[in-house]
Symmetry: none
Subunit: 186 residues, 4 copies
DNA sequence: CATGAATGAGATTTCATTCAT
DNA sequence: GATGAATGAAATCTCATTCAT
């Protein structure tokens, strides 16, 4: 693993464990096995490091979701695969997901350009719009529907990470919950 | 307004605007119009100040919800009033609500006793359990149902704070959304 | 006990336990059961309190020694009773004695007027001088003899406070040690 | 001189002059010609700095005494050289010696492990024991004899630093005093 | 006399960042 | 690129002292 990746990995661990403020750059460098100054060769400031982590993960999640969303299927399956992809990525990348949540409520988030953020929402909004256009989904504001769906996923994630569930139990609760959601918005 | 309250008010403003770390205790004192050391007469540490704010607001919310939840009504109305009370408190106390969200993803949250936190969840869980017992609500784990309902409120809050809605639009979207939720869990 | 005495007593305890710097005036007031500001009615500053304690104890010791030194006796007995009085006072007032030692190595000591200090040494120096004049004590500088005798007492005090000795063992070691000292200077 | 040594030197000067509390770490850094934070790279806390100074000096003194104590000589000469070495080191390193005295009556001293302290006493105690075994020294508790001898040195040090003595006067008083001491304990 | 809330100067310590090697 | 010693601004917290009541 190259130094840049070592730093990113160490930063993720420490930020999640101790928060942004609770993590000194020197600790990150130490944990990454590089010198203090080396960190600043790759990231001009601590803030840049944090924002880079965030956009990296955001990108990674978007890619994963894109690759695991059924296309050329009926709208229900498309949305279902889309949502489940998000959920499973989060469950498989809990540290990254927690990091992103931390980031959202931090002041760093406000400094991101809205355009950047919109970019990641767009595909989901379009999917919902498509569902409405096809008459499958209730004709409500897409923003609202997106917010409800997204937070449904958060709620499910919260539940699933607070319990120890077997694989079958997991897929059972996921299936049930999605059907409930689908019933709600159609 | 006495000094303690001035400090609390200033702290809330600044924490929400700049985050916990981004807010120096000296700034808080200054904004509150008191001397640096005065802050530490009322709160032994910065952390104590932060935790006090959180538990204050948590208490305030719980009280508001308790006072605005219909009792002696059918279960649907009870739950409805309960949920709407939470939502409207959040909408009327946006700073306090943002503060609480910030707190949740901060390392301070981990230091709270679980017992304290459970105390606030308990009434909601009991309400859901009652709904299940009465056969009104689907027999799913209460934890799961609670998580879904709570996050539904978050989602709605998110939508409503991102738009400028008239009073009628507001109550319309709230009504609609609650009916969707109720349909989903029954 | 009046407030002034309460303060003095509390101050002694705390200073000996935690040092001058380690003891806040507010702690002293608290321990003494008086208000914060009351302390400053009796002592203009913390320093004045410390110096007052010191001179009080110094005075107390001097008085005790004066009252317990044999007069109208031969020089050996006079000096012996004088030395033993100092020693026994120290053993019976260990906190006060430790306080005085702490004071000696503190910067406060440098601020005392030399005249004040000399006053307490004078009687001892005169006694030694008398011994020399009578031909009983070696004709060495009185300063030197005084320093040796004083430190002999310190050494003995150190030994006796580090052991648990019975009354008979105590007086035995005291007798022996004085005879050794007397042998040394005559 | 490297920065660490500059800091140690400055700290010694200032601590002796103004006491531990009276000396701010920022003053030390300034006097040493280094930045504020640099001090804390070499010493994690102010306390660590103080304790390091103490153990450094203690070690230095022990080494000096070990190197200047006659071995393979009769017991009297061995003890004499041992005592004189201590005395002369103190006279040649008055600041360091005053620092050590300050340290002894400070609360920092209590935090040192007893084992550490015993280590430095051990050689002296053994020497005295040897003298007793050989029948040269009176069969009294070694602790007591050590305390008396040590304090004799303190007394002599006190006398010699309060006077301006020529070299010959110095060695004369030292010789005389040692003979008195030796007479006393044999 | 007594109180104790309020003060604010000052102390220790941290840490993001730089830069000479 | 890599290093890590050095920096110094800034943050939290303490505490002797004051003063209105």
């Amino acid at each position: 693993m190259n130094k840049r990746d070592s730093i990113i990995k160490a930063a993720l661990n420490l930020f999640v464990e101790n928060g942004f403020h609770g993590t000194a750059t020197s600790k990150i460098a130490q944990e990454a096995g590089v010198a203090n100054g080396t960190l600043f060769q790759y990231f001009k400031t601590k803030e840049e490091l944090i924002v880079t982590l965030y956009t990296n993960f955001k990108e990674e999640l978007a890619l994963y979701v894109a690759n695991n969303t059924a296309v050329d299927a009926n709208i229900k399956d498309t949305i279902k695969t889309n949502i489940l992809a998000s959920l499973y990525w989060a469950l498989d990348n809990r540290e990254k997901f927690r990091f992103m949540q931390q980031f959202h409520t931090s002041p760093y988030h406000g400094q991101l350009e809205l355009e950047t953020l919109r970019k990641y929402e767009e595909p989901h909004l379009q999917l919902i719009q498509q569902g409405i256009n096809e008459g499958a989904i209730k004709p409500l504001p897409v923003d609202l529907l997106y917010a409800l769906m997204l937070n449904q996923v958060f709620g499910l994630y919260q539940f699933m990470t607070s319990k120890e569930l077997s694989k079958t139990e997991q897929s059972e609760v996921v299936e049930t919950t999605f059907e409930m959601l689908w019933g709600m918005i159609t």
